[in-house]
């Protein structure tokens, strides 16, 4: 499903470059649920950005749904992205669109018919408990509410892969466990879930595969793993 082969990533900013990932190899099979853990700055979000092609690897090859993503042209890339739902760490909502429109946008961009939009969008917002805030703009929502809009948007297309980058960072414990339950349910329905998080409790409770990053390297990759950082 997803395959990283000897991937390194250096960020270059006005002249000096910093290493974010170094020689990463891993492979994710269909239907897997994976936790991506590591300290702040370990490179979790960088992996997410590489999977959706927001950043390009400095070295190595990345295969997503059997496509080498460096070889996709500008019309194939959007198609691939429609099959990957991402809950961004910074939410990445469209500020001049309401909660409803933000979620609907993913369907509209995919060219789905209006009937589906009218039906699915309210459902998805209901599912994350935001039915009453549908017409609010992001600036009128709390951090947790924004996060839930981002979750609804990531799931609305029934993606093959759902990537959740710290999806519970702004949520209270009750909401957090709701969201994790939701991710597990989506995974049961056949979607690959990649969960990047700092939250030890969540990871330990999941009892799923855990990839641990440190300074841009994979130091542990265990089935039924735990959140272990020295």
């Amino acid at each position: 499903m997803i395959n990283f082969q000897g991937v390194s990533k250096n960020y270059k900013n006005n002249g000096h470059s910093s290493v974010a990932l170094e020689d990463i190899d891993f492979s994710i099979e269909p239907k897997e649920f994976i936790s991506l853990v590591g300290k702040s700055g370990a490179g979790k979000s960088t992996i997410v950005k590489l999977i959706i092609g927001e950043e390009k690897p400095t070295k190595g090859k990345i295969i997503v749904s059997s496509h080498d993503i460096s070889k996709l042209n500008s019309s194939q890339m959007p198609h691939l992205r429609r099959h990957i739902g991402v809950i961004f760490q910074d939410f990445s909502l469209l500020n001049n669109k309401t909660a409803y429109e933000n979620v609907a946008f993913a369907l509209e961009a995919a060219g789905r018919p209006q009937i589906e939009i009218d039906e699915f969008v309210p459902q998805a917002l209901e599912m994350v408990g935001l039915a009453n805030k549908m017409n609010n703009f992001p600036k009128e929502l709390s951090g947790g509410e924004k996060q839930r809009v981002a979750i609804a948007r990531a799931m609305i297309n029934h993606p093959d892969v759902l990537i959740a980058d710290e999806p519970t960072g702004n949520l209270d414990p009750a909401n957090t466990s709701e969201i994790i339950k939701l991710l597990l349910k989506i995974n049961e329905l056949g979607t690959v879930v990649i969960l990047a998080t700092h939250n030890k409790e969540i990871v330990d409770d999941l009892k799923k595969r855990v990839i641990t990053l440190e300074n841009g390297k994979i130091i542990r990759d265990e089935k039924n793993g735990k959140y272990i950082l020295d």
Partner: protein
């Protein structure tokens, strides 16, 4: 396809509403650009009619000896009409010349009395020659001076007017060049300023554009609404510009008429209203489409 297009248009209109201040600022700048464009059109129209009216006043008159027969003069007229430089020739017979003279001096009693006492018409018949180009007159003049019918001619007006004609020719050429340069430079300035304003507006949306790409929107789907917004700006700015033009030309019209008697600005604007509005709207829309398309391209690379 139709769904996508209608979504693009919907987002364009919604985006236009929500951009608020940015929309207003862009429209204002575009409006000013269109005013410049509009004034350039009018400037060129006025300059052309001013030049035309000056050009119409330039001519060569060939006066014939009093005893030259009408037949001969008409033959010469035919011959001269064969020249490529000649636009038209008016034959002014002795009696016509007399009428013109009379009507020109009807207020001055002494002159009309003197004419009556004279009892016969002392005026010469003449051919009034107009050329296509002011610079052609000297060629026509030299043709006449070397022609076989030279001995029938009493006088050619070119000799006295040649200096004025040459000078006018120079002034008109300079004015035309100046007008063309002015049009080019001001259009360029207006276009660049509008382009820059739209570029700034789109720059402020760069994060949104990035997000849309990551959510799987195609380039066309992202770009479309901004192009639609650009079209809306163009239409509104052109409409504003046009409705400002109406009172402006109405009040300016009498002043223009002082300088260019053949030109009524107000009538011109009214009778060409549709064309003028069309030009402005076209200019505005094209400017909006091109500016937003170029400005957005940079952010679509992700």
């Amino acid at each position: 396809m139709f769904t996508t297009l209608s979504r693009i248009i919907k987002y364009g209109i919604v985006g236009f509403w929500r951009s608020g201040l940015i929309s207003v600022a862009t429209i204002v700048v575009m409006f000013l650009a269109i005013m410049v464009f509009q004034n350039l059109i009018l400037f060129n129209v006025l300059a052309k009619s001013a030049l035309d009216s000056i050009q119409n006043k330039i001519d060569i008159s060939v006066y014939f000896n009093v005893d030259t027969s009408e037949d001969n003069i008409l033959k010469i007229k035919n011959e001269l009409e064969g020249l490529v430089e000649v636009k038209n020739i008016e034959y002014i017979s002795k009696s016509k010349a007399f009428e013109i003279f009379q009507s020109r001096h009807k207020e001055e009693e002494i002159i009309s009395q003197a004419l009556e006492e004279l009892g016969e018409n002392p005026l010469a018949a003449s051919l009034n020659i107009k050329a296509y180009n002011p610079s052609d007159y000297s060629a026509i003049n030299s043709y006449i001076n070397t022609a076989a019918f030279k001995n029938l001619i009493y006088k050619v007006s070119y000799a006295q007017n040649s200096l004025v004609i040459e000078r006018l020719t120079k002034i008109m050429d300079t004015a035309k060049q100046f007008g063309a340069v002015l049009t080019f430079v001001l259009s360029l300035v207006a276009i660049l300023i509008t382009f820059n304003t739209i570029r700034l507006a789109i720059y402020s949306y760069r994060d949104e554009i990035n997000i849309m790409k990551l959510v799987g929107a195609s380039n066309a789907f992202i770009q479309g609404p901004y192009v639609v917004e650009g079209i809306i700006y163009g239409i509104i700015a052109a409409t504003l510009g046009f409705f400002i033009l109406l009172p402006l030309s109405y009040f300016a019209s009498p002043y223009v008429e002082i300088f260019i008697p053949d030109m009524n600005l107000w009538t011109y604007v009214i009778s060409n209203a549709l064309t003028l509005f069309g030009y402005q709207a076209f200019f505005g829309i094209i400017l909006g489409i091109i500016s937003s398309s170029i400005a957005i391209r940079k952010y679509l690379k992700v």
